[in-house]
Amino acid sequence: MSGFNPSDDALRDVKLAHVPFPLPRVALWAFTLAVALGFAYIVAINPNFGWPVVAQYFFDPTVMQGLSVTLGLTVVAMIIGVALGLILAIARMSQDRLASSLAGLFIWFFRGTPLLVQLIFWYNMSTLFPRISIGIASWNTNDLITPLTAAIVGLALNEAAYMAEIIRGGLLSVDKGQAETAQAFGMTKARALRRIIIPQAMKSIVPPTGNQLISMIKATSLVSVIAMADLLYSVQSIYNRTFEIIPLLLVAVLWYLLITSILNIGQSAIERHYSRGDRGLTTDKKKENPMPSGAVDERA
């Protein structure tokens, strides 16, 4: 209850403070690490996992082929999906009733039906429309819709519907004053979007897009139903011969995890880029900030 004793002042300098040893935390860490290592050991020595077989097939040409199909499909479908999603988001938000209802209809349909069903429909398009004609040009549907194009179209359109909503949410998150300022300075709508609105929207668009990309990598495994040889299909085709089901599924699992990890690293880098100007002096200082990145520093 007594006040400060001035003679202690020299000792009160917080620079001299001792930090108590965080025993409970260290114990928890040690325990978790032990459990994890134990589990890894059990998995590693269990012969049923067939690790030698995993190693044997990890770089198998069939698997590599499947991996490239999975990656290629993901990249192409994602690029088309994002581009179309951006157009849909802008259309959805436009004053023009026609544009906004058409975009709404698209999003409603492609989000509301299972991707598997969509893929099968695209693949079987020729039974619905034997010929496709635009103006005087006309094609045999079977020449246009190969398994590859059906897979790309199916994945991309589905992705576009989801991306449209993600992008729209991002655009809406930007302060309305920003668009107005760009307008007041004589920028065209397109320029304002590109230079002012989208860069600010990216902060809320990137994290869910990373999610989408990861889902997409796994969603590509659905294309095996339309005879596309993706990563999963390729390991299946091997274990159908050798019956080494678990080791080959592990090959696929490890590849999926590897790609996902690389994507996570890329995503963090992109997120850091788009949160520049978010207070800290430089973007790499962010780690020192104990607040979650969503925390806003209010300053009038």
Binding site: F185, M187, D278, R279
Partner: protein
């Protein structure tokens, strides 16, 4: 009132309604080149709305606005009045600078990038030229140390001065200020007003909506008092502020002594 002056802004019978709410009920206003006009009036009297009509951020319902001999938003051709395209309207706005109450700096760009954005993107200046001029302007508003700071790293007063530099960078024929100091802490108001007084002395044409009576007294050539969507009275600050003719002006001003 001296030699024949060029009229830069002409507003005639400007009406604007938001749904059933009639905000502007016929505003007439002339602003001469080089003139500094301060608009005063109670909250909700339509000051911001009128300012936004001048650069067509709001479309007016009746009347017209002319800036530098060009009708804003429309073109009279062979006796027919045609609406301009978005691109043409953007071009008209490109020489009207605007400073907002909430600054509205682009948060993802540094101070310098904020200032060079429109000169490069809209006015197609070279990056070097735009950067050189931006440095000069930022130095003029006292921010030579802050070229590479992001808006969130600046105080409110500094942000508003960047916003002023950004508006000056487009070499405006007309500057619109909408309550530029209302969002600032009292001790930061002075630095922004000082910057604006300098601009007024340099002969920039300015329309300023503000509650800073002191600024109106010192810097304004004319004070316009608005209430209920009309101009109630206007004249030199010495007259309107010292001897207001209308009761509404008097009661408004009495709150500031």
């Amino acid at each position: 009132m001296s030699a024949p002056e060029t009229v830069l802004v002409r507003a005639r019978g400007v009406h604007k309604a938001f749904g059933p709410l009639e905000v502007l009920k016929g505003i007439d206003l002339d602003v001469a080149a080089g003139e500094v006009v301060v608009i005063l009036g109670p909250s909700g009297s339509g000051k911001s709305t009128f300012l936004r009509c001048i650069n067509h951020l709001e479309t007016i319902d009746q009347g017209f606005v002319e800036v530098d001999g060009e009708q804003i938003g429309f073109r009279l051709k062979n006796g027919r009045l045609n609406k301009l395209t978005n691109r043409e309207i953007a071009a008209q706005r490109s020489r009207i600078g605007m400073v907002f109450q909430q600054f509205n700096l682009y948060p993802h760009m540094t101070a310098l990038e904020n200032v060079i954005e429109a000169p490069i993107g809209v006015h197609k200046q070279s990056r070097d030229e735009a950067t050189r001029y931006a440095r000069e302007l930022l130095t003029r508003v006292g921010l030579s140390e802050k070229f590479d700071a992001y808006p969130r790293q600046l105080s409110g007063g500094q942000q508003q001065r960047v916003a002023i530099a950004r508006a000056l960078a487009i070499r405006p024929r007309l500057m619109l200020f909408d309550e530029p100091t209302s969002a600032l802490d009292p001790e930061l108001v002075g630095e922004v007003l000082a910057t604006m007084r300098d601009l007024a002395k340099e002969g920039l044409t300015m329309i300023v909506v503000t509650h800073e009576i002191g600024f109106a007294k010192e810097a304004a050539d004319r004070v316009v008092f608005m209430d209920g969507g009309v101009v109630v009275e206007q004249g030199p600050p010495g007259e309107v502020l010292a001897n207001p003719k209308h009761a509404r002006t008097r009661s408004f001003l009495s709150r500031f002594i």
